[in-house]
Structure formats: C-alpha cells, structure tokens
Amino acid sequence: MKVTLFIPCFIDLFYPQVGVAMVRILEKLGHTVVCPEGPACCGQPAFNTGYWDESREVAIKVLESLQGAEVVVIASGSCGAMLKVFYPDLFAGTKYEAMARELAPKCYEFSAFLVNKLGVADLGARFPHKVTFHDGCHGLRELNNKRPPRELLAKVRGLELVEMGAAETCCGFGGTFSAKFPMISTAMGDVKCASALETSAEYIVSCDSSCLMQIQGLIDRQHKPIKTIHLAEILIQQ
C-alpha cells in the first residue's frame, strides 16, 4: 500500500537515521512510502503550551498535506498522539474538524503500524545485545502501544530484552516542560536512567526520539555506561 510517513521535527534535525530506517523497512515490506514535503512539525509545542491558535497554524499544514492519504505512519509516539488524539480537540468547532476526525483513524505510530495493521513482527533483524525498553508516555497511554514494540523486539535475533522497573515512568521530557521546569525534568530523567542502569542493559530502546534525546542528554553529561537507540534503528540491523 501507499504509506504516508510523517517525520517529526526532531527526527528530521537530530535523528534522520531513524526516519531513513523506517523508510527502508517499509519499502522492504513492499510498500510505497511518501513523505510530505511541507509540514515540518505537528504543532504540539504550541498546543501543549496553551497557544492553540498558533498551534493550528502549523497543524493545518499537516492536515492539508495528509488529506487523502491511505494510511499515515508517524515516526514517534508523541506526534502520533497529537495527530490521532489531539487534533480533533484542537480543531473542534472549526471548519477543519471534519478533516481532523477523518485523519485520526488512519494514523499509526510506526511499531503499531507494523504489528497491528500489517501483522508483521519478524523483520529478519539481528541485534545481539541486551536492551531495556522505555515506554514513551504518549505512545503508552494515548495510543495504547505497550505490546507492539515488544513483539517486534522478541523477533530480533540475539537480542535480550530486560524490563526496567520504571519502564512506564515518564522520562521527564514533556516537550517545553523540559525547559520550563528543568530541575524537575532532570530529576525525572535521573530516576529513569538509574532504573535502566539497574538492568545492566547496553541500550535503552524506545519508539520516541524525543524521550531518547532527554535520556541521552543526561547519559552524555554524566558519562553513564549505556546508550539509547530507536526501535527502528534496531529493526534495520541485519
């Protein structure tokens, strides 16, 4: 099928390899991938801060670019939640409400798309390392995305998954929260890192690069013996 892939701003700028991996995986599965040129951001920063008018200006571009898409795959849980769950709220009472409601059921976060829509869990990947999984909050609670990433990881050859105690605890990113309340955000990130380190895993895996940016930022500053990696980067490894 024709898959419209939405790449969030931070993946575009900081982690393009994640987007590239997703394109390659989807093409390998025989699908055509298109990435709309126009929109660079889903509008979540303004939305979360309470500036819904300004958020709409950005989000309208997304809506228009995705109109008529057969299926939309979003490369992160947080942007996925924005498109699927929050766009109907954001556009309620406006002339775009119908478009937003029409878009929502077509949206999938990347791992949910593979497992729930395509019914695929085994991508023939190989990654002989010990990993632990971080459940990004939007993906976990807004999109109910607990199982798909784990089903995918279970099929990766040589991979050992160890769950950390604080897997479902927020990493502290929260978008603008990380800059508005940096001390709380850092404390939350520290709790997360400590829990991951307890597992002796080599990698922290997630479906959300924004979470990984927070966690990696702390790891680098504190020189912790663990690395972060996006799920797609593992799935592309042979």
């Binding site: 590239v20 040129e37 801060t49 990380s178 940096p182 709380i184 404390a187 930022g217």
Partner: protein, 464 residues
C-alpha cells in the same frame, strides 16, 4: 513578596535535587504500590469498576441540586442542622458561631481537607479555642506547625527521628524513635482530648442523598471517637461529595481503600445520619453539617472540567505522579497537591496566580490512567494551559510560536532554519553551559544532540 509561582520554582528546584527526600518518598510509595496493585488485581474487573464509579459520580454531580436537596431533607429529618456556606469565610463564621453558642473550649478534629482549605484551625485558634488534630499524621504535622504533605499521608516526608524530636519538644514525651511507642504517646495524649472535648469536627468522604448520611473512612478510630464522645459534632463537607444511594458505597468504599492505602477496606467505614436518636445513650446531642461551596459551583459550570468534581480524594494520582514524587506535597503551596491539585487549584484560587501548577507537568497521563473515577486529569491540565494563555497571553511565547508557523510550514524556510541551526550550534560551543547560553535551561544538566550533517528532509530530497 514572592508569588505562588516563584515559591513553587524555588521549592521544586531545592527538592528535585534532594536525594534523601527522593528516597524517603520512593520507599513510602513502594510499599503502597505493591498493596494497591494486589487490591486492584483482586477486583473481578477493575476497569469496569472504574467505569461504574465514573458513571455514578457523573449522575451525582450532574444532578447535584436534586441530590443535595434530598440529602438535606433526609438528614434534617433526623434532627441534624444543615448550614450552607457559599465561601470559606462563611464556613469559618458558621463554625465559629456554633462554637460560641456551645461555649466550647476544647475541640477535637478528625481529618478534613476542607478544613485545611478554609484555614479553619487558624481561625479557631485565633478565637482562643484549643484545637487538637486526632489523626496521627495530622497530629504530627500540627505539632511541627506545617501543613499536611499528602492528602492521605500527612507525615509521609518525616522519619521516625524527626517525629521523636517534635514529640520531645512539644509534648515532653518521647521514649524512643520506635513507631509503635511514638503512636502510643499520641494515643495517650489524644485519649484525654477526646474525653475533654466539647466539640468534635470531622470531614466526610461521601454524602449519601438517599438516606441522608455522611460516610467517613479512616483507619485509626479517631473519627469514630470524635463522633462519639463530644456533645456537639460538626461535619464540614464539600457539596460535590454527594453519592445518590447508600448501596453505592459497596463500590466506592473498597475502591477508595484500594487506591488510597492499598487495603481491602480501611479499618472504620462509618455512616452518620444525625445526632443521638431516641433510644440511643451516646453520641452528640447536636449534629451540624456545613455544606461548602468555595468556588466548587464555578468548577461545576465548566462542563469540560466538571468531572474534576468527581474526585474522591483517594490520593492515587499523587502517588503515581513523577512530579509529585520529585518535588513533594509542600512544594505545591496549596491544600490540594499532585495532579488533582494542579487541575482544580487554578480554578478554585485563580487561573493567573496558579496556572504554573498546570504547567509543571510533562502530561505523562499516569494520573488519568490510575484515577478510580476516570477523571481526565492530564487533559484538564492542557485545558487550563489553553484557558490561561487566552486570559493572559505571554507576549513573547505567543510571538515565538507565531514566528515558528511559517518556518514549520514552508520547506524553503525550514531549510534555512536547518542551515542556520548548524551555524548556531558551532557558535553555541562558546557559550554552552554558561549563563549566556540561550539553551541554558537544557544545557545546565544535559547535552544537546548536534543537528545532523544531512537531515531527513535533505536526504529525502536527494531520493526524488
């Protein structure tokens, strides 16, 4: 003169870095979590129970006038005096009026967050009454002259040594730091107060419309004694605490106990329907119920957030909130802390002064997930932010988001942003981590990733 927001920031900064505090809370919560999860698992269908509880509260709150009138009719029929307090001041005045009329001297109280909300103790003490908190946790923080730390566990933040210390200083009686011995000290002191007290003041967890009763949940028996021994009893209760029928308690009492303390049922769940009735030989001769509004009707009028009045004050959202667990209850600087506090306080005490509580959240949604009555807590935080920005926009944030729109919607401009970002990052190296660093909020404690040599959009363009 510091605002609530600056106070919050100061305290949050201090406590986020306080590892001893973090460990104390972690340990306290750990025991609770295991028990809570066991209790939830014991339910035949916990999620269906949540839905049932949510619907019952919806019915109660969305027909509040009818249920309140029924409640009052039924409880008055048994000789209870009902008072309607529109504001905190009215509630204080009503209660002080009763104390004056009864020539009270000693007042014993069981836990009532509404009394914290209206600063009742202060008012009573200023009027010359001796007021003793009988719940052990409240008793301890009262001695320490600080507010409760958590709506269910007032002294969660204290070690046994700190408690021994205040007992020694204020009571002159602290044999050791052993929790059992300390509890027995409190038991001895309070026993005397129950017997001396002229008036007992309680809160209530639920107000049953059908039978005209107040339901009080506790473990210690202090509310039972407060309601049994003094000659006058007063219950202060928020108008939103209404439940339609007596049998609704069959659902709510176990849910409250499971989420509040991880118990099957708290030790005493008691329904009071009036003063001493004909044929009864003890209990108060007079029973007064003070119904408190104090801006609850304002929250009721907000149909989007009305469900925040469904709250049964179990404290479960506090317990799962990573912000609460890192900054602690006192940091919020107001009666109701944690997620529910962050939702209702801006609406009860002023959006502009208290919106920071709604902003101090990563919107992780753990609160909404755990709430036994399915309040849409984290979405209400978003709504508060939206309402606050409309009421009083921050000019520079609004401008920044507005400026961002064309950058994020026009490929040519985004391309420019990318290139300038790379340049900026090179220069950033000179100021990184210093006070001149525009990204200081981040870089103080974290490294920033570099903008990629080739962004995704740049790569995608090379393909086509």
């Amino acid at each position: 003169m510091s605002t609530p927001a600056t106070q919050f920031n100061q305290d949050a900064r201090r406590l986020s870095a306080d590892l001893r505090h973090r460990q104390t809370i972690q340990t306290a919560m750990g025991k609770y979590e295991v028990a809570r999860d066991q209790r939830k698992a014991a339910f035949h269908d916990w999620q269906a129970a949540r839905q049932m509880a949510a619907e019952t509260k919806w019915e109660a709150v969305n027909h509040l006038d009818r249920h309140l009138e029924q409640f009052v009719r039924n409880i008055e029929a048994r000789g209870t005096k009902v008072h309607w307090a529109g504001t905190a001041q009215e509630a204080r005045d009503l209660i002080l009026g009763i104390l004056r009329e009864k020539n009270a001297r000693v007042i014993v109280k069981s836990k009532a967050m509404t009394s914290e909300e209206i600063h009742l103790n202060e008012a009573m003490e200023q009027s010359g009454y001796e007021v003793v908190e009988s719940d052990l946790g409240e008793f301890i923080v009262q001695l320490r002259e600080e507010p409760p730390y958590h709506i269910v566990f007032p002294a969660m933040h204290l070690t046994r040594d700190e408690i021994k210390d205040v007992f020694q200083r204020k009571l002159g009686d602290a044999p050791s730091n052993n929790p059992e011995e300390l509890t027995m000290v409190a038991r001895r002191v309070l026993r005397e107060k129950y017997l001396q007290a002229d008036v007992g003041i309680t809160g209530a967890n639920f107000a049953i419309a059908e039978t005209g009763m107040l339901s009080i949940t506790e473990n210690e028996g202090n509310a039972r004694l407060t309601a049994a021994l003094p000659r006058t009893m007063i219950t202060l209760v928020g108008i939103e605490k209404v439940l339609p029928r007596l049998e609704d308690l069959a659902l709510f009492l176990p849910m409250l106990s499971a989420m509040g303390t991880g118990q099957t049922l708290s030790c005493y769940n008691t329904m009071y329907g009036g003063p001493r009735q004909a044929g009864e030989t003890d209990g108060p001769e007079e029973y007064h119920v003070v119904l408190l509004d104090n801006h609850r009707t304002a929250l009721l009028a907000d149909a989007e957030q009305r469900d925040s009045l469904h709250c049964i004050r179990c404290g479960a959202c506090l317990n799962v909130c990573p912000i609460f667990r890192n900054v602690g209850g006192h940091t919020y600087g107001t009666t109701y802390s944690g997620p529910i506090g962050a939702v209702i306080t801006p609406n009860l005490r002023g959006l502009n002064d208290w919106k920071h509580l709604s902003y101090a959240s990563s919107l992780c949604g753990a609160c909404t997930e755990t709430c036994p009555v399915k309040i849409n807590l984290h979405h209400h935080l978003l709504q508060n932010r939206r309402n606050a920005s409309r009421q009083k926009p921050s000019w520079w944030q609004k401008a920044a988001f507005k400026a961002f729109a064309p950058l994020a919607t026009r490929p040519a401009l985004w391309s420019l942003v990318t290139k300038m970002g790379r340049l900026g990052q090179k220069l950033h190296g000179f100021v990184k981590g210093s006070r001149l660093d525009p990204a200081y909020a981040w870089t103080k404690t974290r490294d920033l990733p570099p903008i990629a040599q080739r962004t995704f959009k740049e790569w995608w363009r090379t393909r086509s």
